[in-house]
């Protein structure tokens, strides 16, 4: 239980010890530790197995760039794979598991892959697993699937909440290190709305990990002072544990805050919040990430970035090794030696590649044991701290396809002028300026620029005193003359040899290199590997780095969970739900509901004893046709159209005429798309010379409204007509059946005459019901029976359905749902969505005669195209099985193809299809509507309805689509 590698110093809280388990074994750390720092303090070297070769791996870095220490943290449904141990904050009782090993981390059978390495080099899957072809599905793919990936998901539903938010600011400061803190200070003091975001749980950036002095005090003290001032400003929002993961258009940024991952007890607080930030300007102060050097077996546990070794010592009081070799090609890496000595470690060698070309191999497999030079000399070591230079974190400047600029003086990429958008600025290490003094200065300057750009004045600021040592580097990418493999991308197991192999095979461009070797394609998006790999390629091709180029970095900067993108839109709340005024009543009646777009509609109303929906639906149809039924039709779009040109407007929208529709009457209308295909149908009621109300189908309400506004605003902007939706204003019920009028008369107020003479078929009007309640009545029929639609303001909708059912008792009135509605309209041969499927024209629908000859309308010209008027086109007709028994053998299926007898079931022989099918209780038979070649000429013929998907083949007779009351006599009684 003792922390063998714990030393003094650091910002951890030693008064709060924390117990956790790693692969089932108990360890202790302190509050303020990350999982990585706690493991290091406990002397744990081996933390994982690499992706392809299952090589033993240790902690490599101390930040979100970590490629090796990917753990599964948490238990049960909360077990989260691929979590970086370097950013996971330790809490009491945390369970941490290593990944990608079987049966254990120490003994992993898949390490055999390492022996097969020569056969598994870059691009091996393009050359193998190809023969025999049949082995792919049964053998190769399952094996590859199981071997792929690192961690595994729990497989259980995510138990946490997630949230979203939208923030507005003047300046978004990305990164709260020395540069970012100064920017936020300057902008905040000038009164700008500032958001300061940092992915870490503490503000300060690199200041937390070095022993810098600012203004003569510790950098930590300075950081806390600035942070306190920023916290006190109401115009500044500090967002820790927040990664700005993407840059989008027009100053929109994506960010995610981790709210609860550091808490032992998970509350109902959202685990993560996904933010969309609208910023007028941004300052990228994201610092820089150190890179390593490619040398033999540089992936062994204990080989780490020099800056990480310093972070563990200075920030967490944990020693990465007790005998450390320091390797560096620059001035910064060398300070690691002094830090280590001060912490009580032995520095067994310091190798400055600028001074001499020493090559050595790393000895040790599950942990570094020693290094051996090419001349045979051996030096004991349990940790190798390597610094190959620093890469400014410029990724966000490339999200909008900006290309960075190479600087030879720091051997690194910085943002180029055109990589920075008009509103994005950069400061500090992200800009290639590495001294603390430079960071502070650039941060303040960036803040001042932002303030000025937004038209305000920045008060002069006293620049704190800080170190300004120059950064000196001589590029050194790869140690030559080594025996073992030199790792470039540890996470995807890509070596220097793979890079050269790719170039050899012709994949010389950096984009192809990436995709062929998968270099930079792991969850760190190449933070450890991109620049190093690029440099090795450039070297190999004898090119400069600018000549070789770079790949584009894309959002997200670090992985973002899919749960965060989903937010609260899960399960039944995935989409909003629209309920009709009768919804609660229908629910109380035991109705079964169906989704119609966002609406919930009652599908059928089962009665006790009914065990199959057919029983219910058949009953509803029979009851309606023999007496009276009531159906909620509120969901159909209702569009109010007013103005002197309203009639003329409707004339241009519909194929048939509306301008001369009589006041107090309705008319059925069909509208086309401009290409001549049927788009939607509905009825229009005329309430006055200048006032119409149009209905649309439920499904097309939104798109028809959009279309009408397009015509009104863009095509005919001087027409005097205005539109507005009134769909939700009126609860509307269809009352259908021979007793419909009698029922209606029970609630319509005496002064309104709804007799057949006074209110004939297709009449409409404003009336009152139930003692003065405002209502609209339409004599319309979708069912083919005597029918009305009654609308009342939606507040009365619930009460009205109850009233209708109550007064309807004497007529045995039934509620009916969308199924019975559908059966009845099919019996009548009314086209609906299945027929208006985007492939049919008015003529195909049998509505050719509706097309007005004299007036223009949307779709007219192209509806006259030859191809749409061919005699052998598909025309709407009805179908009935020849054998009329209600057995499964003659059940028709919509979608079935119509194929002649004796013909084989091929696409060439298909002469059409069934579009709508129902069992008709009125005819005691299945019936169908469909489109048949020359359909109208073939009434009486027999043909087969073939459904290859469901395996049915039914002989049917072609008949009129109007199965019931073809003359429409019932409508007019």
């Amino acid at each position: 239980m003792t922390q063998t590698h714990r030393v003094g110093g650091g910002h951890i809280d030693r008064s709060q010890p924390v117990e956790f388990t790693f692969d089932g074994k108990k360890y202790q750390g302190f509050s303020g530790d990350t999982v990585a720092s706690a493991l290091i303090a406990n002397g744990v070297k081996l933390v994982g197995r690499s992706f392809k070769y299952h090589r033993p791996r240790g902690i490599f870095s101390a930040g979100s760039d970590e490629p090796n220490a990917l753990m599964t943290i948490g238990e049960g449904a909360r077990a989260t794979p691929n979590t970086r141990a370097t950013i996971a904050e330790l809490y009491e009782g945390m369970t941490v598991q290593s990944q990608n090993r079987f049966p254990s981390l120490n003994f992993d059978v898949m390490a055999v892959n390492d022996l097969l390495a020569p056969f598994l080099s870059a691009g091996f899957y393009y050359k193998t697993f190809m023969w025999p072809a049949s082995f792919w599905e049964k053998l190769y793919e399952p094996i590859i699937r199981r071997a792929a990936g690192l961690g595994a998901l729990s497989g259980e539903p995510d138990p946490d909440q997630y949230d979203k938010g939208f923030l507005h600011c003047d300046v978004l400061v990305i990164g709260a290190g020395s540069a970012g803190l100064m920017t936020a200070l300057v902008a905040g003091r000038a009164g700008l709305r500032v958001i300061l975001a940092d992915e870490d749980f503490q503000m300060g950036g690199r200041l937390l990990s070095e022993l810098e002095q600012i203004n003569g005090d510790t950098a930590l003290a300075w950081t806390m002072q600035i942070t306190a001032e920023l916290s006190s400003m109401p115009n500044v929002r500090l967002m820790g544990r927040t990664t700005v993961y993407g840059v989008f258009d027009h100053g929109i940024y994506g960010a995610v805050t981790r709210n609860t991952d550091h808490l032992a007890v998970k509350t109902k607080k959202p685990r993560e919040t996904l933010w969309r930030i609208y910023a007028k300007r941004s300052v990228l102060a994201s610092g820089a990430t150190e890179r390593s050097i490619a040398l033999s077996n540089n992936d062994r546990p204990g080989v780490m970035l020099a800056s990480a070794v310093r972070t563990y010592a200075n920030r967490f009081g944990a020693l990465c090794g007790k005998r450390v070799v320091v390797v560096s090609n620059n001035s910064d890496g060398l300070r690691t030696a002094n830090i280590l000595k001060a912490s009580g470690a032995e520095v067994s060698a310091v190798i400055d590649t600028r001074l001499s070309e020493n090559s050595f191999d790393i000895r040790g497999r599950k942990a570094v044991r020693a290094i051996r030079f090419s001349d045979g000399r051996k030096v004991d070591a349990d940790c190798i701290a390597i610094s190959g230079g620093w890469n400014p974190n410029i990724q966000l400047t490339c999200h909008k396809r900006g290309r960075p600029l190479w600087r030879d003086d720091i051997a690194a990429f910085v943002p180029s002028k055109d990589a920075l958008t008009a509103d994005m600025d950069v400061a500090g290490a992200a800009n290639g300026s590495f001294s603390t003094h430079q960071c502070l200065q650039e941060g303040a300057q960036a803040g001042a620029r932002a303030v000025q750009a937004l038209g305000k004045n920045a008060a002069a600021i006293d620049l704190p005193q800080a170190d300004d040592a120059p950064f000196e580097i001589t590029p050194f990418w790869e140690m030559k003359g080594c025996k073992g493999s030199a790792w470039v991308d540890p996470q995807n197991d890509v070596t220097a040899k793979d890079i050269k192999l790719a170039a050899q095979e012709g994949f010389k461009s950096v984009e192809l290199l990436k995709r062929y070797t998968t270099l930079g394609m792991a969850t760190d998006q190449g933070k450890a590997s991109n620049v190093l790999g690029l440099a090795i390629l450039a070297d190999h091709l004898s090119q400069t780095i600018p000549e070789t180029g770079t790949t584009i970095s894309r959002p997200p900067y670090t992985p973002v969970s899919i749960s965060a993108f989903a937010g609260a839109s899960r399960f039944e709340h995935f989409r909003p739900v629209r309920k009709t005024p009768s919804h609660n009543w229908a629910q109380g009646q035991g109705a079964v509901f169906v989704s119609a777009g966002l609406w919930q509609r009652a599908q059928y109303f089962p009665r006790p004893g009914e065990t199959h929906w057919r029983q219910t639906v058949d009953r509803e149809v029979v009851a309606t046709r023999s007496s009276v039924g009531i159906c909620d039709v509120t969901t159909l779009g209702k569009i109010d159209i007013q103005g002197p040109d309203a009639g003329a407007f409707l004339n241009r929208i519909y194929v048939n005429a509306f301008a001369k529709l009589v006041v107090g009457k309705c008319r059925y209308g069909l509208m086309l798309r401009e290409d001549g295909f049927a788009m939607d149908d509905g009825t229009v009621a005329r309430f006055s010379d200048t006032h119409f109300v149009m209905t649309t189908t439920t499904a097309n309400a939104v798109s028809v409204y959009r279309h009408l506004e397009f015509c009104r605003q863009c095509l005919w902007p001087n027409m005097d007509v205005k539109l507005i939706s009134v769909t939700d204003q009126w609860a509307q019920y269809a009352i259908a059946g021979p007793n419909a009028r009698k029922l209606l008369q029970k609630i319509v107020d005496k002064e309104h005459d709804v007799s057949n003479e006074a209110f004939s078929y297709m009449a409409c009007g404003e009336i009152t019901v139930c003692g003065g309640i405002r209502a609209r009545l339409f004599r319309l029929s979708f069912s083919g029976e005597l029918a009305y639609e009654l609308g009342v303001p939606a507040r009365y909708g619930d009460s009205l359905i109850k009233a209708l059912m109550s007064v309807g008792e004497e007529f045995n009135a039934v509620p009916y749902g969308t199924e019975a509605l559908g059966v009845m309209r099919i019996e009548k041969g009314h086209a609906a969505g299945n027929e208006l499927n985007g492939q049919t024209t008015a003529k195909h629908l049998g509505m050719g005669r509706m097309l007005a000859k004299k007036k223009d309308f949307i779709g007219k010209t192209l509806s006259e195209r030859e191809g749409l008027n061919a005699e052998d086109g598909l025309y709407l007709v009805g179908f009935k099985p020849v054998s009329r028994a209600d057995t499964q053998t003659d059940a028709l299926a919509s979608g079935a193809h119509l194929i002649g007898q004796g013909k084989s079931d091929t696409a060439e022989n298909s002469e059409g299809y069934l579009s709508s099918v129902a069992y008709s209780p009125s005819l005691k038979s299945y019936i169908g509507l469909g489109f048949l070649k020359r359909g109208q000429e073939r009434i009486g013929q027999e043909i087969r309805a073939v459904d290859l998907l469901r395996g049915t083949d039914v002989l049917v007779t072609v008949c009129s689509a109007h199965f019931i009351d073809p003359k429409g006599e019932r409508l007019r009684v």
């Binding site: 863009c714 902007p717 007219k860 192209l862």
Partner: protein, 95 residues
Amino acid sequence: MIIVHPLLGPRDAQEFTYLGDASLIHRPDPKADDAAENFYEYLYQRDNLAGEHRELWFHEQGDRSWLVIKRNTLTHDILSVELASDVARREGRSK
């Protein structure tokens, strides 16, 4: 993206639906002799521009106005936003 509505100021593009090229405003004259050809061109033939594009957007979740937007399809920079009805009238559409 952010669309700066001429009357409402900046709004997130998710409030809008996109239709297509602003040339859709110029519905051909159905009475012309070559009407069918013209409608065919109007509906099906389109220049696919890499660069400045004039296009129609509908502020469906806002004020329900149609807008003509000039946008660079490569950079997404929005150069101008106007009420489509103003543009339509200016370009000769009437009743």
